[in-house]
């Protein structure tokens, strides 16, 4: 492995074009003047020609490891040389990339120190990318050789790799954006201005206690706590009905709970307006029966709350179902054998074992609500929340980036607070229930006192979901939603027309372009997201290393910040060298990976904390290394988590809007930004028809994923009847 990476480093430095080429994957550069053409030359050739001399010092880091290749791993010189070479090479590469940009030195103090630079450089390309990876690997191999994490090279490299990508694609852009919070009107930086803006009454005002309006911070906090608690309870109710009851149509129920997660933004909001708005069916009917005049009651907290509950309960459900299934029936059976009643068993055994799931579900609901942007936009009325305020601080008539950054700081503060509260609540207890030992029990049914309210809630909620989706489906086949109810298929035809022309099949519908782009990007992003998320979860639950808390926090960060901020941050960070990827499809894929990775991490952690460590240990004792253990033992037991991560990231890539709206380009338009364009343009029929089509595509995709990933077989009886 070491030899491979040393060779890779040399190839990246001496053979591949150092700077970015116009088309990332095309090999045009091979025929177009490489290796001597200035644009395509490898670093070594550039240096040999006397150009870009600042690339020279990296060669030292490539030479040094050659000297120690023959040495044993336990030799301290081996470790020291690799660490120094890797760290120096990587550090230098980053420093020169940040320090020298399109217009020479990027900071005034560099110019003051070295004098003006006549040269410039563009974004990094394959050469730089591969060399950087090689340096990183040298460094982690060196650290592992010194004995860190038991000298395990796989674990150390995984940690190094995750830290590197999270730093580049999460910390770096966000830091760039947050710097704006300290910018004064005339372009300088000041703490005083920050505090003055931070303690603004429009953010923290408490007017609502005395009949006025409260600051956006309190609005968001209140809404998020409410949504977090309620989605967790609803998700738990659904999970209980599915695992601990004799309910017969579980499949239907399961599909129903997943439906809202695959619905593009704005659609739920529009349906709720048509049902509960001032002229909505339900509002007018109820008003007529009660003999009062209809009101705009739904605009504000009630509307946003309803829409968010609809949208985010499935996330809580996806997290909880794995955990609720995973709770060991043996423990529950043991409790019952000891004469505990069903209720006692549930309260003292089942529920406490579900705590990691409950805590994670709450955290996700809380964060999702904080960052949600589509629902408050449509249904918020005068109830302002942080996410919409941030969006309009950036794109509205204010154009106030520093206000946006300050609101983002507030939002981040809340999500971090929730994160630590969750850690505190979980404490240091063990929630392990899946061990290597046989566990052939069956989950007991819910106690009756619990079953009745749970059934009632699930029935009510399911009915509501069905009605909302009925409205949506109906809306896509009428002329003009809410005005002209003539049935028609014209919206589908406009969007998805296909014609046989002279040149064969022609996709003439207006939606096809964005449709294919969306599918492509979602398909690329989903497996990468799941992989990164689960590896991170594995590191967090199974390995101990210094700075683990900070590491965990970093992986959650991009999720806690609303997409709008991420979108602008990405443009600020990646439009200029060293990494220049705006306007490409790549930036969309990357933004999805890092936006959605936290769900993979959370689902992975929740499932993994149920797997007994003795499973890993026995695998390791039998001679497998940690990579093999991860692949052959842990991964198969994680199927629910893998599925959750895959489904979630695929679906989010198809339905997310807030970050996307800044990152789409002419060539890479996404379905959601197209739909919003239609909504803005009053073309509700087309927007809803497109959304409906997307819902079916996603349903098919989710089914396909479920088939591919398969189910975890934990070796339990499936029911009383089949068990014997």
């Amino acid at each position: 492995m070491l030899i491979f990476w040393i060779v890779a480093g040399w190839v990246g430095y001496c053979l591949l074009p150092w700077y970015g080429v116009e088309k990332f994957w095309s090999l045009e550069w091979l025929l177009d003047g490489w290796p001597l053409d200035k644009d395509y030359a490898p670093a070594a050739v550039l240096v040999a020609m006397g150009q870009k001399l600042w690339l020279l010092p990296m060669a030292l880091s490539l030479i040094a490891p050659l000297a120690v290749m023959g040495r044993r791993k336990s030799d301290p010189v081996f470790a020291r040389v690799l660490i120094v070479a890797g760290a120096f090479g990587f550090g230098w590469l980053v420093a020169q990339g940040l320090g020298i940009g399109l217009r020479g030195f990027t900071a005034p103090w560099l110019e003051a120190l070295f004098g003006p630079l006549e040269d410039r450089q563009f974004g990094m390309g394959y050469g730089a990318m591969i060399t950087a990876t090689a340096f990183l690997f040298l460094l982690t191999t060196g650290i592992a050789a010194r004995g860190a994490v038991n000298g395990d090279v796989f674990v150390m490299s995984a940690i190094g790799g995750v830290i590197a990508v999270v730093t580049i694609f999460v910390f770096f852009p966000i830091a760039k954006m947050l710097m704006a919070a300290f910018v004064t009107d005339d372009g300088g930086y000041s703490l005083l201005v920050f505090f003055a803006k931070f303690f603004d009454a429009r953010i923290w005002g408490l007017g609502c206690l005395s009949g006025g309006r409260c600051g956006v911070a309190w609005n968001s906090l209140f809404l998020a706590v409410l949504v977090g608690v309620l989605t967790t309870l609803l998700g738990l109710a659904f999970a209980l009905v599915l695992t601990r009851s004799g309910f017969r149509y579980k499949r239907v129920l399961r599909a129903l709970t997943v439906l809202p997660i695959i619905t593009p933004p704005f659609v739920i909001g529009l349906a709720i307006i048509l049902l509960l708005g001032l002229s909505g069916t339900v509002t007018t009917t109820v008003a007529e029966i009660l003999g009062i005049s209809p009101t705009r009651w739904v605009y504000g907290l009630p509307g946003v709350l309803i829409a968010q509950l609809l949208a985010f309960t499935p996330i809580a459900f996806l997290v909880l179902i794995g955990v609720v299934e995973g709770v060991s029936p043996s423990m529950e059976e043991a409790a019952q054998t000891l004469r505990a009643s069903r209720w006692q068993t549930f309260r003292t055994v089942s529920l406490p074992l579900m705590r990691p799931g409950l805590a994670n579900a709450f955290l996700l609901g809380f964060i999702e609500s904080m960052a949600d942007f589509g629902n408050p936009l449509v249904l918020g009325g005068n109830f302002d929340v942080l996410s919409t305020e941030i969006f309009f601080a950036i794109v509205g008539a204010q154009y106030d980036q520093s206000r946006a950054a300050i609101l983002a700081v507030v939002l981040l503060g809340f999500t971090l607070g929730a994160f630590y509260l969750q850690r505190f609540w979980l404490g240091k207890k063990s929630y392990t229930t899946i061990t290597g030992k046989g566990d052939a029990g069956v989950h007991p049914a819910m106690p009756r006192g619990l079953a009745i309210p749970v059934y009632a809630v699930v029935a009510l909620w399911s009915t509501f979901t069905v009605v909302v989706y009925g409205m949506i489906l109906y809306g896509s086949v009428v002329q003009l939603w809410g005005v002209d109810d003539t049935l028609t298929f014209k919206h589908y035809l406009t969007a998805f027309r296909v014609e046989w022309g002279e040149a064969g099949l022609r996709w003439t519908g207006s939606a096809w372009d964005s449709f294919w782009t969306t599918i492509l990007i979602a398909t690329l992003a989903a497996p990468l997201t799941a992989a990164l998320g689960l590896i991170t979860a594995y590191l967090l639950t199974r390995q101990n290393f210094a700075g683990k808390r900070a590491f965990e926090f970093g992986t959650m960060l991009s999720f806690a910040i609303p997409g709008t901020v991420i979108g602008v941050a990405y443009i600020l960070a990646f439009n200029v060298p060293p990494i220049e990827i705006t306007g490409t499809g790549l930036i969309l894929v990357i933004s999805f990976i890092f936006r959605n990775m936290p769900v993979g991490v959370r689902a992975g952690i929740a499932s993994m904390s149920q797997l007994d460590k003795s499973l890993d240990e026995s695998s390791l004792t039998l001679g497998a290394n940690s990579w093999h253990t991860f692949r052959a033992v842990i991964l198969p037991l994680l199927r629910p988590a893998i599925l959750a991560a895959l489904v979630y990231s695929f679906v989010r890539a198809m339905t997310a809007i807030s970050a996307v709206i800044f990152l789409v380009s002419a060539r890479y338009d996404m379905a959601t930004s197209y739909i919003i364009g239609r909504v803005e343009n009053n073309d509700y029929g087309l927007a809803i028809a497109y959304s409906t089509a997307l819902i079916f595509v996603m349903l098919a995709a989710v089914g396909l994923l479920q088939l591919m990933v398969g189910r975890t077989r934990i070796g339990r009886r499936t029911s009383h009847a089949e068990g014997h």
Binding site: S510, R678, E680
Partner: protein, 340 residues
């Protein structure tokens, strides 16, 4: 066998993904409605053979993007959207001065927009501010039809008027600036305070109030008149009103982005977009603004600008950052905090 197949698929997919947008001959940022943007893109391609890559975003979003991309611009020309962000971009030196040979065919207001910004932007269409109401709801409630700005403050419309928040919407800022110019600063703010008592919601987006009126979620929405007309044409029971006291207007604008990579093509587009041929495309997509070319066709559904009482809107003063900040913070502290 399976792995190479997957790897190839990923490779092929990413190949098509990572080709940058810079390959097109012209990168157009478009801030008008989707269909209008598309028809402009296609027609220009047909007329010149230049390959266009178009991105549609609201004018605020585009302006934010121009700021973010300032050190390495990706776009060439920015077409459409209300004039203020274009003026602001000119003020921040994000756009390039250009004097088009097409200028002598334009209305004076379009050229005035250019001269006020040092030729860095130009008017392509204009639309007057007004309001619209839902005629079905009005009949049901048995209320009189409003005809003037002053009518909107009458107590019978309490909780039935919707407008956008001037902090987030250019349309609503134009409303505020119009009132200040129409009634004087004190009179204008006094009007906004009385109007505030009748407002049921300050929406985020400028055209949202009239969409809400179309769906029956509010009775009256204060918007640009062409947006209200578009609702009527789309089939909603919306009636457009030109306020009797007179009204302000916006000038939809176009600018060339400073440091554009395809400057030649950008200028070609700029000249073409000012021609009668290009401006007549508006009617095909139900855009009822008045176009800047004197010879452009007019729709009989569009509000007749000549019959309106237009104020002499001072774009230079009210489009400047300082005046905007001052008026908005005054509105924030004096109007938005009042009880309703």
């Amino acid at each position: 066998m399976k792995k190479p197949a997957v790897a190839t698929a990923v490779l092929v997919a990413t190949t098509s993904l990572s080709a940058t947008a810079a390959l097109a001959d012209l990168n157009l940022y478009c801030s008008a409605q989707e269909e209008w943007c598309q028809i402009m893109e296609k027609s220009f391609e047909e007329a010149t053979g230049i390959d266009v890559a178009m991105t549609r975003k609201s004018s605020g979003e585009t302006f934010a993007q121009l700021q973010a991309e300032a050190s390495n611009p990706k776009g060439d020309v920015w077409w459409g959207g209300t004039g203020d962000p274009h003026l602001q971009a000119a003020e921040e030196d994000l756009t390039e001065p250009y004097v088009s040979p097409m200028r002598d065919q334009l209305h004076p207001w379009a050229i005035a927009q250019a001269t006020s910004a040092g030729d860095k932007t130009i008017g392509i269409y204009s639309g007057a501010l007004g309001f619209g109401y839902n005629s079905d709801m009005l009949a049901k409630a048995g209320l009189p039809a409003p005809a003037c700005w002053e009518d909107l403050t009458k107590p019978e419309y309490k909780g039935m008027v919707q407008m956008a928040n001037p902090n987030s919407s250019g349309t609503a800022y134009t409303t505020l600036a119009t009132m200040v110019q129409l009634f004087g600063e004190d009179g204008g703010f006094d009007y906004m305070k009385r109007l505030h008592a009748n407002i049921n919601q300050y929406t985020k987006s400028g055209s949202a109030p009239i969409k809400a009126a179309g769906q029956g979620e509010t009775l009256i929405g204060i918007v640009f008149m062409h947006d209200a007309v578009a609702q009527t044409v789309a089939g909603f029971p919306v009636v457009t009103v030109a306020p009797c006291e007179g009204t302000g207007y916006e000038i939809g604008s176009m600018s060339i982005i400073k440091g554009a990579r395809n400057m030649e093509e950008a200028k070609k587009f700029y000249d073409w977009a000012l021609s009668v041929e290009a401006q007549n495309l508006a009617l095909q997509v139900n855009a009822f603004q008045v176009m800047s070319n004197v010879g452009a066709a007019k729709s009989d559904k569009a509000p007749d600008m000549a019959a309106l009482k237009l104020i002499d809107y001072d774009f230079k003063t009210y489009g400047s950052s300082d005046e905007r900040k001052r008026l908005l913070s005054k509105w924030d502290s004096d109007v938005s905090t009042l009880p309703q």
